[in-house]
Symmetry: C2
Subunit: 129 residues, 2 copies
Amino acid sequence: MSTPRNTKAKQAVLNEINLSGYALSQPEIFDRVQGICDRVTVYRILDRLVRENKIHKIVNIDGTINYAGCNSCHEDHGHTHDHLHFSCIRCKKIECLEEQLIQVSLPDSYQIKELFLTISGICPSCSLT
Amino acid sequence: MSTPRNTKAKQAVLNEINLSGYALSQPEIFDRVQGICDRVTVYRILDRLVRENKIHKIVNIDGTINYAGCNSCHEDHGHTHDHLHFSCIRCKKIECLEEQLIQVSLPDSYQIKELFLTISGICPSCSLT
DNA sequence: AAATTAATTGCAATTTTGTTGCATTAAAAT
DNA sequence: ATTTTAATGCAACAAAATTGCAATTAATTT
């Protein structure tokens, strides 16, 4: 297998994701690292960071794909997506509510890999306005 | 408001969705109604069917948008997405498990509109091979 | 410190997916 | 049969993501 390298662009992308309080889309990330690298490179960095278990890939209720840092995931465990995502229909932001864990049981014929509970609605800051 | 009409294309699309045991993507639907209508028309029909509460719009774990028939939804109630979706990572199909209802409570500052619980993994038929 | 290896990047081209405007067609009501 | 307007086809457009390949550069080796 290949040995990952640490590049300026990769660090910048990871940094933006980790600093953000909510999950970012590829365009948002590209905006924030303006000038550092190409649009295509952002796509490839995101793929790699997901493969390396450094970030989460979350799908919004509208199908938009967003990326979030891992607070409670340990790299050595790999990822467990068994927590709740809140997807705001007003500001379109999506955030992880890591405290809320989910437990579901299905028939044995289903092999469960990951759980994605996404709740859509209005987030606290949008509720104020 | 506008009065919906029943066209051959609309009926064909709805039929394919209802006959399928799992949720279909726009390309899959377009394939199955080959020759009946234009690609653009399928998009517009799907939008309309969703608006008319005839079908579900479901987002797959990979961000793909799929459409499923409504078994347990009543048109007069509108739609409630409070059940479980199983999204197979092998065949990419997604199905509704309507028996499994979900209940979650969040802080009052979050206004909940819909719940989307998607479980990814291997579906029963892919498990066989 | 220089050379080597292969992971990473930039750029251009392409593909896929979804949208819009507008003239034409056809479903349903009169 | 006529009228109304929802629905369609087509062409053009726009957005989002992918691919190939040559050039670059991080990290390792000598």
